[in-house]
């Protein structure tokens, strides 16, 4: 057991530096003699000066940032997906400058090599014609996409952005475990790790002279954009959508690079050109940073089952109008069957050896290799790598020789004998160990692998100075894929201290490379913003109502209410779908206490299909989808807001006062969000859609409230009018204006027709109209467009209404029929306006497949 400093090792109060590395592996931190490796010394010195409090603070900072940024990835296990928090171990991996340079040179060589192989196999296929590669490696690989053969690739660059998984052997030599050439994920997480680590350990970070990551992404983007011939190119991040495990990263890269994140159905191909559907019509897309598998990109020519792609994309690439990074079909070279051929291929193309070896791999498509695998099966990992089924999980593709029973072995041998070309045998890696710090505040050595990223530039490939280190704390360290329970680490590559004076990336939410303003708002984003506006407003309506109800059932106010009011309150809950009619009936029969009890159980009830919890979830979900359009502060407030229900479950006793306190806090949060939206958002299309959603929802809510509280009976007498004013946030206005008890006609006038009241229906409609007028629309000869016609009609109806007359009760029916009629007009108008907005601006309908006859009529 080694102690890394003279201080006595110990618990939380002293530096956690006792560190016992395993003897049979390479340890990143200490050498065989137990001394700290030179490139770690600065960092370790700094780390050992942190006291327990500072260490705890650093960890808390990291936790808070991870939570605040909502860093998650979806880990899929056998088809089941769950949203997992990203796990970061703050103790970084430090790599010395000299060693890094060697690693860099090796990886650059390898990236060039893979690009050369792709351009041969998707072009002249010399490697096959001269026998350098056996045909099975290409033709037997489902990642070889025949339709991509001879598709022109700008500048011969197939690989714009790629990654290598590397690990260090016991002798200290780096090995490549896997090449990642399709759409490697994790770079966004590496960036996020850096931002968090540099903030949680700011002094240590500064002192360590770590090379910065930001310029790498700038380099990527600058070079990528140059692949377009247009002056002001439009680049997008093509994602499978929010259900994908890596969506967080897609959105993150999108924010960071300033490329909108889009799905296949957000784009269309016309005249062999790729277009993005925006609220301002179709905008040509020049560059696509692809985050979906190649074969899913164009259902017309590749996998016809795909719903993620864009029909006709390949034709637009052939026409030279768009560049895809990485080029379609790039996954061909990340196959493990290629690993054993790389040294030969490197000689073939560059007349030099491979600078960084691959982990020893034997391809069973060749007799001698297969024989070797059979002989040494017990100490190898056997992987079935060439199967068309992508859904085969990593663990199901792999067998570890040492774990195989006699029978397993026999079966495997039989399978490999028949279909050898699908299998490889690989040496089982025992990677180096690196210190894991973790929550226990102790360092322990755990196995580590590293993913490093490269991007193409005009002058060749360049490596991101850092990477995503993965440590296996519980999972099987022999696996080289990401497993649940793994932690990541920031990788600190030592520099010479001369940096371009980039700040440490500042906020991840800065859009460093943004090239354009709000004019290219994708239709889908507009749709999400519109709904975010609606959900925020819906939440506010529900919360105000609940608060008013709680206020009325508690204390003095509660006891003074008439029973009629109580049942009306309950009917409001039913209207909001917080309560089923059956439970409502029972509650009313049970009196005020029963109502109160019901209120407390339904508040934030996550199981209620329409209650507050669901509305808040919708706020959160839609906010996540448009996060790149919101400021960090707005985002933080929304996250806080949506986590308040959790506080309720933690609240002891759950008294009415607690409920009122939480609801009031939520209203304050909403006010803050609204303030942010009004004061901080640029008046772009994005802002207008958010606003339009809010305005329409407010009209809908007001109409519902008025109908429930004022369309029958004598609302003045039951307190319903006061409730109405309160929920509509117009009590003060009413009181200052009338200085009298609420009267229906005056209240209706204030809530429906008063153009100066920012809570009135007419005010919402006029604001909506103004926003709509500022959106792009087709010039029409007609004086009013359909939306304007609806608004004009509804507003005129309201203006022409005699409020005193509709407030009167018809003796025969006990219902204010004219009022109900007006409200129905209003509801209809809202529905129509919502449809018009959707129809005009949110068309991202999916293409459907046209199939010929499903079976052929042969002649028997």
């Amino acid at each position: 057991m080694n102690s890394l400093s003279p201080e006595t090792p110990g618990s939380f109060s002293s530096p956690p530096l006792q560190y016992p590395p395993q003897t049979d592996t390479f340890d990143e931190l200490v050498d065989q003699d137990g001394s700290v490796r030179t490139h770690w010394q600065d960092f370790l010195k700094g780390f050992s000066t942190l006291n327990a409090n500072e260490r705890r603070l650093a960890q808390e900072t990291a936790d808070r940032m991870l939570k605040g940024d909502g860093v998650t990835y979806l880990a899929g296990q056998d088809g089941q997906q769950s949203d997992r928090p990203w796990q970061l171990d703050l103790f970084p991996l430090v790599i010395g400058q000299e060693e890094w340079q060697q690693l860099e040179a090796g990886l650059i060589q390898r990236a060039r090599l893979l690009n050369h192989i792709l351009s041969d196999l998707y072009g002249p296929q010399q490697l096959l014609k001269n026998g350098t590669l056996p045909p099975a490696v290409v033709f037997g690989n489902p990642q070889f996409l025949q339709p991509c053969h001879n598709v022109p690739v700008q500048g011969g660059t197939y690989l714009h952005f790629l990654a290598f998984d590397v690990a260090r052997a016991p002798d200290g030599q780096w090995w490549v475990l896997r090449d990642r050439t399709e759409a490697p994920s994790g770079a966004g997480f590496a960036l996020e790790n850096r931002i968090i680590a540099s903030r949680a350990l700011p002094d240590l970070f500064d002192a360590a002279r770590v090379q910065r990551l930001s310029s790498f992404f700038q380099t990527f983007s600058q070079n990528f954009l140059e692949f377009s011939q247009r002056d002001d190119p439009l680049a997008v991040v093509l994602s499978p959508g929010p259900q994908n495990m890596a969506y967080f990263e897609h959105a993150y890269l999108s924010r960071y690079l300033g490329y909108p994140v889009v799905e296949g159905s957000d784009m269309t191909v016309r005249d062999d050109r790729l277009y993005l559907k925006t609220v301002d019509g179709l905008k040509p897309v020049d560059l696509v940073l692809r985050r979906i598998y190649s074969d899913l990109c164009d259902p017309l020519e590749l996998s016809t089952e795909s719903t993620l792609g864009i029909p006709g994309l390949l034709q637009s690439i052939r026409a030279g109008h768009v560049t895809i990074g990485n080029a379609l079909g790039s996954g061909l070279v990340d196959s493990e069957v290629l690993l054993s051929f790389l040294p030969t291929l490197c000689q073939f193309f560059f007349s030099e050896g491979l600078k960084i070896p691959s982990v020893a791999t034997w391809w069973c498509g060749q007799d001698s290799e297969r024989a070797y695998v059979f002989e040494n099966m017990q100490k190898l990992m056997i992987r079935r790598v060439l199967t068309p089924k992508r859904d085969l999980s990593h663990s199901r593709r792999s067998s570890f020789g040492p774990d195989l029973t006699q029978q397993d072995q026999q079966e495997l041998i039989r399978a490999i004998t028949r279909r050898g070309h699908e299998y490889v045998g690989r040496e089982i890696v025992s990677p180096s160990t690196a210190p894991f710090w973790g929550a226990s505040d102790r360092l322990k050595p755990v196995p580590m692998t590293l993913r490093l990223y490269l991007t193409a530039t005009k002058d060749g490939y360049t490596v991101m100075p850092g990477g995503l280190a993965r440590v296996s704390v519980q999972s099987d360290p022999r696996a080289h894929w990401h497993e649940p329970g793994d932690f990541s680490k920031d990788t600190w590559v030592k520099g010479d201290g001369i940096f371009d004076h980039q700040p440490v990336l500042g906020s991840p939410h800065q859009t460093l490379l943004l090239r354009r303003g709000g004019r290219d708002l994708p239709s889908r984003t507009a749709d999400n913003l519109f709904w975010l506006g609606r959900y925020i407003e819906r939440a506010e309506g529900a919360i105000r109502l609940l608060r008013s109800l709680f206020l009325r059932t508690s204390g003095e106010a509660g006891s003074s209410d008439e029973p009629e009011t109580l049942s009306r309150l309950v009917s409001l809950l039913v209207m909001q779908k917080h309560l089923t009619p059956r439970r409502a009936k029972r509650a009313v029969e049970g009196g005020a206490d029963m109502v109160e009890a019901e209120l407390r159980t339904i508040l934030f009830d996550p199981d209620s299909p329409d209650g507050l919890a669901i509305i808040l979830q919708n706020v959160r979900r839609t906010a996540e989808l448009v996060r790149h359009r919101l400021s960090q502060d707005t985002w933080n407030i929304l996250i806080d807001l949506t986590s308040i229900p959790k506080e309720w479950t933690r609240t002891k006793g759950q008294s009415i006062d607690d409920a009122i306190r939480l609801l009031s806090r939520m209203i304050q949060h909403l006010a803050a969000v609204n303030g942010m939206v009004m004061e901080n958002m640029t008046r772009s299309y994005a802002w207008r859609f958010l606003e339009m959603g809010r305005r329409l929802e407010r009209v809908r809510h007001l109409s519902k409230l008025i109908r429930h509280l004022a369309s029958r009976g004598t609302p003045e007498a039951t307190g319903a009018l006061n409730l109405l004013l309160e929920v509509a946030d117009s009590s003060i206005t009413y009181r200052t204006r009338y200085r009298a008890e609420a009267q229906l006609a005056a209240v209706l006038d204030l809530l429906l027709a008063d153009e100066t009241n920012p809570r009135s229906v007419i005010f919402q409609l006029q604001t909506f109209d103004a926003h709509m007028g500022d959106l792009p629309h087709e010039e029409t000869a007609a004086s009013l467009n359909p939306a304007q016609k609806i608004i004009t009609r509804v507003c005129t109806d309201i203006r022409l209404t005699d409020m005193i007359q509709i407030a009167e009760l018809t003796k025969t029916t006990k219902v204010r029929a004219n009022l109900v009629r007006l409200l129905k007009q209003l509801d209809l108008g809202v529905q129509q306006l919502s449809d018009i907005v959707a129809h005009t601006y949110f068309s991202h309908s999916l293409s459907q497949r046209i199939s010929g006859p499903q079976w052929l009529e042969g002649i028997p």
Partner: protein, 296 residues
């Protein structure tokens, strides 16, 4: 033999289609025994974008985009084609099947390299122990390749029931093997899978077949149909076609349209559209022998 082939497909939509993209493989490919004398492809409505070329396997293909709203699409391919009889093959004189994999390995002969494209699993054809076990009976060690393939072809013809409507283009061969029912494309897929299980190259061929009306009846125009069969590669002889649906080696009444690894590579019409609602395709195919002077 010279034929006029007319292949007409009509899609009728319940709602207008705003935009549609199509890939068509409806122009007959040429090969040593087959020459296209005249061909035309007419599309209604006239596409906004159309380009003609060849796919990876050398089949003629046409890309088109229709960008004006259309309630229907009619595609009609007309070809006059000259098909010659194959040279007679002595099945028993072909190389023994178990020597074929060796002949494939390590060779840089372009023909052999080409054959290896049809050796592996493809999107619609996956081999497994079932297909392997199925084929073994026909291929005892040392049997001449083509004799084995003919035997396999006959076995599928005898043991499987031709029945429409129980399968579709994506039905896996494993299911066909189990149910013993299917149509021409299923039998072709199955036989290809069986041959590939043994490491023998096999490709899928789509095309047409001249049909003969029952004795004394007049041939109905448009009553013919698309057909599918397969071809296997034999060293020193080349590609030889087999038709398991009709238990024969195609002569001059089979007209090849396109070939590939499986149906997916040769599907005559693929398309995607926005809008359109429901759609129903109707297909009519007519194959008529013609006498040369009348068309030249």
């Amino acid at each position: 033999m010279i034929y006029q082939v007319t292949h007409r497909t009509t899609f009728t939509y319940t709602e207008p289609v705003a935009i549609s993209h199509h890939v068509l493989r409806l122009a007959l490919r040429t090969h040593p025994r087959q020459h296209s004398l005249r061909s035309s492809l007419s599309i209604d409505p006239i596409p906004s974008v159309r380009s003609d070329g060849k796919d990876y396997f050398g089949n003629p293909l046409t890309h088109l985009t229709i960008q004006t709203p259309h309630p229907a699409l009619i595609v009609e391919a007309q070809t006059v084609v000259d098909v010659q009889k194959p040279e007679s093959i002595h099945l028993d004189q072909s190389l023994s099947w178990d020597q074929v994999p060796q002949r494939l390995q390590g060779s840089t002969d372009p023909e052999i390299l080409d054959a290896q494209q049809f050796l592996f699993d493809s999107p619609y054809i996956t081999v497994d122990d079932g297909t392997y076990d199925f084929v073994c009976e026909c291929f005892p060690p040392g049997r001449p390749l083509l004799a084995g393939v003919m035997d396999l072809t006959s076995r599928i013809f005898q043991d499987f029931t031709y029945e429409g409507g129980v399968t579709d283009v994506s039905t896996p061969v494993q299911e066909v093997l189990h149910s013993r029912k299917g149509v021409c494309q299923d039998f072709a897929h199955l036989e290809i899978a069986a041959l590939r299980s043994l490491g023998l190259p096999a490709r899928y061929i789509s095309g047409y077949l001249l049909t003969h009306p029952p004795e004394g009846q007049k041939k109905l125009v448009g009553a013919d149909a698309s057909h599918a069969w397969l071809s296997t590669w034999c060293p020193d002889i080349g590609w030889v076609d087999f038709d398991p649906t009709n238990n024969c080696i195609p002569h001059d009444e089979h007209i090849s349209l396109a070939w590939g690894r499986d149906y997916g590579d040769v599907s005559p019409i693929n398309g995607f559209m926005v809008g359109g609602g429901q759609h129903t395709p109707t297909v009519s195919v007519d194959v008529s022998p013609v006498s040369l002077p009348s068309i030249v």
